[in-house]
Amino acid sequence: MLGAKAMPPKEHALSTINGSRTVTWMQTSFNVIQALTVFVVMFVAMTLLFPTFHTYLNLTNLLKQQVPNLIVAIGMTFILISAEIDISVGGTMVLASVLTAKTMQAGGIYLGVLVGLAAGAGAGLVNGFLVAKGRIPSFIATLGMMYMTRSIAYVVTRGFSVPVSTDFQKLFAANFHDIPYVVFFVILLYVIAFIVLTRTIFGKQVYATGINIKAAELCGIPVVAVKMKCFVITGVLAGVAGIILVSRIGAVEPNLGTGFEFSVISAVVIGGTSLFGGVGNVFQSVLGVFIISLIKNGLNLGHVNLFWQDFVTGAVIVVAVLIDTWRKRIAEVLSLG
């Protein structure tokens, strides 16, 4: 111990007390403002550009399409805040929907829903176990799960489409002025998720784990359990999304929702949740989901070649991550300028 190291304090020039409070304020609100601005600008631009955009039908359609993304984005927000990632959500969602549809054919609606939820929870549990206990980088662990879940979906269906009863399709079809009741369920989920993240012990622990896992451990936070819970929550939500997806489209195929995971992750990141953990909240993710959907809708309405659409989505993701990476620097520059 003696004579170890003369450690100079490594504060940068900004970390003096006076005058730099704005940095924090900018850092957190920069994300929200950025997402909100992009959303509003896009909304106005599309209203002006495309007469069909502002129709009730187009808007409710947009909303309906985004239900699975909105649901899974909640879980992804938890995961990203805890400084992990889950790219198996698409696979998990499809597996849940396939198992739900299959089970319903034989065992009825309730059993089907139950199996779908169980599949989601199971996949989440495996992910959580591999990452938190097995200490495999989450990208790799969930990459493996992405393949495995999808593979099981193919095995179960033998690659064919599985239809569900019209009774079950009513679940999604039931609506209030063409807004499915499911949308209100999604809103409820968001309110719950918001409270969990900001007002419960678990929520605080998720942020703490994401910001500094070593410090979190030394504070007695059960970091393994925290990460595990985040993955299970996400798995269950992917299951819920899968069940709702079946109800909406009436039949499932195992090749459904390819690229779903990246569309969710990019939505959450565009919303302002950091890929590096510790920063973000669920309402920002809603904005992110809608920004992505507006981009796709805009490209459709503008008759942009379908093959170019993925290019645009890819570019948007890269820009969002670039902003995330440089966020702190940008906030500092803004607050100084």
């Binding site: 111990m1 003696l2 003369a6 450690m7 304090p9 490594k10 007390i17 409070r21 007002r199 942020y207």
Partner: protein
């Protein structure tokens, strides 16, 4: 080499500031070829900072560095390397899975003529010559992983030699060596003297410095206190120059008593590769200091007490009850708090506001009737600590990354006070904190003990140990080898001399 070129390094009036701290203040220092120049001083005296400037890792704010007659301004370590100034850091920097030859010629391999291929035969011959010249019995094809610590260090020195080093800076080279190994390494360094290389030895071990160096420069609080001829000085004189309290003596204001049932008792605690039977007793109201050389086991002891490390054997009693502490969570439940020396890396959530940091451990106390975290309670609790600990901040919603080192440390203290911990383990609590705030932190520690907490202070700062502690234990290679009692034999000189002595 026909005529020997003049090898000399002169630093004149070097100054270096970090935010809130003057690390170096008008340093004059010189080292010439064929000399071993010792650089001694307490933690934070500026030894490493000075050498980092010489080797290009830091840039000076003032002064000049003159190398062999011409002024140099290194903006990175590569530029210093080009001038053949080579630094060997405390941790060994070898490639464990490669053999001796590969390690010696890392990144400056000998080539076959006009080809990109390496000339193994020539490198082997050169290695054998080197090993022979310095009478080292090492097989050139041996995997370095299998060498002892001193051999690894010597290997690094040999690498520097083959790189044509003019100045060799060794930062605490013997800190992780046994006595016999240290002796071997020091002998080896003496052999190098006729190579016209300037060797700068950063060390806390005064006996060692006296034994091997030609001259010794003593630093204290970023200033040169004196440069002595090793042959004409004594250990006592060097220690006297090193010390010199920079703290106000009023750290212990008001008396303190301790006694009763020990808050913490450790019986024959063993941790694999770290502790070999440690016994200690910590009473409520007592400040028990523990110090020793790097790697003597202090951190591992703290880890074991906080459930971060499995003990091999031994017993831990808290307030008279035998306990097993399997995780930090368990330790916290038992009333133990641990403030590690790495405040930013392990103690704080830098991007979180003060009130979240203060209440994160005792979060259960912050719940309202609905079972939700009440921000009002968080604020009230934090406000209390900010006021009583005098944390200087514009608001309790300020993120802790914006606070100074001293105030950050107070936030960590507040976090543990909120848990009502009764045993507080502190490791180098004033590391990287400027002198003014240091006194304040030490007063705070004194106040904690006055309030009846048992304080275990692991520190490398002798002055803070001698001023604060009721008892100081010297830990050496996992054993407690000396004990000093306040009012009996606890003095700064005694601790320093015991802590740096090589026990055999």
């Amino acid at each position: 080499m026909g005529r020997e070129e003049r090898v000399e390094l002169r630093c004149k009036g070097i100054g270096k500031r970090f935010p809130g701290v003057i690390a170096l203040d008008g340093i004059d220092f010189e080292c010439v070829g064929g000399e071993i120049h010792g650089l001694v001083g307490e933690n934070g005296a500026g030894k490493s900072t000075l050498m980092k400037i010489v080797s290009g890792a830091y840039q000076k704010d003032e002064g000049s560095v003159v190398l062999c007659g011409k002024e140099v301004n290194f903006s990175n370590t590569r530029e210093a390397l080009r001038e053949k100034i080579i630094t060997l850091y405390q941790e060994s920097n070898v490639f464990e899975e490669q053999n001796v030859i590969e390690n010696i010629f890392t990144n400056h391999e000998m080539r076959l003529k006009r080809s990109p291929l390496t000339d193994l035969r020539r490198m082997e011959r050169a290695t054998r010559e080197l090993l022979e010249r310095y009478e080292l019995e090492i097989d050139p094809f041996q995997k370095v992983r299998l060498l002892s610590m001193d051999e690894k260090k010597m290997l690094e020195v040999l690498r520097a030699l083959t790189q044509g080093s003019k100045f060799l800076i060794l930062d605490e080279p013997t800190s992780s060596l046994t006595v016999a190994q240290s002796a071997k390494l020091l002998n080896f360094l003496r052999e190098l003297k006729n190579q016209n290389i300037g060797i700068i030895l950063i060390t806390h071990n005064i006996s060692e410095a006296l034994q091997v160096c030609d001259r010794i420069t003593v630093l204290r609080d970023g200033k040169v206190i004196g440069t002595l001829n090793a042959g004409q000085t004594s250990k006592e004189e060097v220690i006297r120059l090193m010390i010199g309290s920079n703290l106000s003596k009023a750290v212990r204001s008001g008396e303190r008593t301790f006694g009763g049932t020990p808050a913490l008792e450790v019986r024959h605690l063993e941790v694999r590769n770290a502790l070999r039977g440690v016994d200690l007793r910590l009473y409520p109201g007592q400040i028990l200091g523990i110090t020793g050389l790097v790697g003597s086991g202090g951190t591992r002891l703290a880890n074991a007490l906080f459930g971060m490390e499995r003990k091999a054997s031994g017993e831990i009693y808290i307030e008279g009850t035998r306990v097993s502490i399997g995780s930090p969570r368990k330790a916290i439940e038992r009333g133990v708090a641990y403030l590690t020396s790495d405040r930013k890396g392990e103690g704080l959530f830098l991007t979180m506001p003060i009130y979240e940091n203060v209440t994160i451990v005792a979060i259960r106390k912050m719940l309202n009737r609905l079972g939700l975290v009440s921000r009002r309670r968080q604020h009230a609790a934090s406000k209390g600590h900010v006021d009583s600990l005098h944390i200087k901040t514009p608001s309790i919603a300020t993120t802790v990354e914006q606070l100074s080192g001293g105030n950050q440390q107070k936030v960590v203290v507040a976090k543990w006070l909120e848990t009502n911990a009764r045993i507080i383990i502190l490791e180098d609590p004033t590391l990287g904190i400027d002198v003014g705030a240091k006194t304040e932190i030490l007063r705070l520690i004194h106040a904690l003990a006055q309030a009846g907490k048992g304080v275990l202070l692991l520190s490398t700062e002798i002055d803070e140990l001698s001023q604060l502690c009721d008892t100081v234990l010297i830990l050496y290679k996992g054993r407690i080898v000396r004990e000093f009692q306040r009012g009996h034999d606890l003095t700064e000189e005694a601790i320093l001399s015991a802590a740096t002595r090589a026990y055999s």
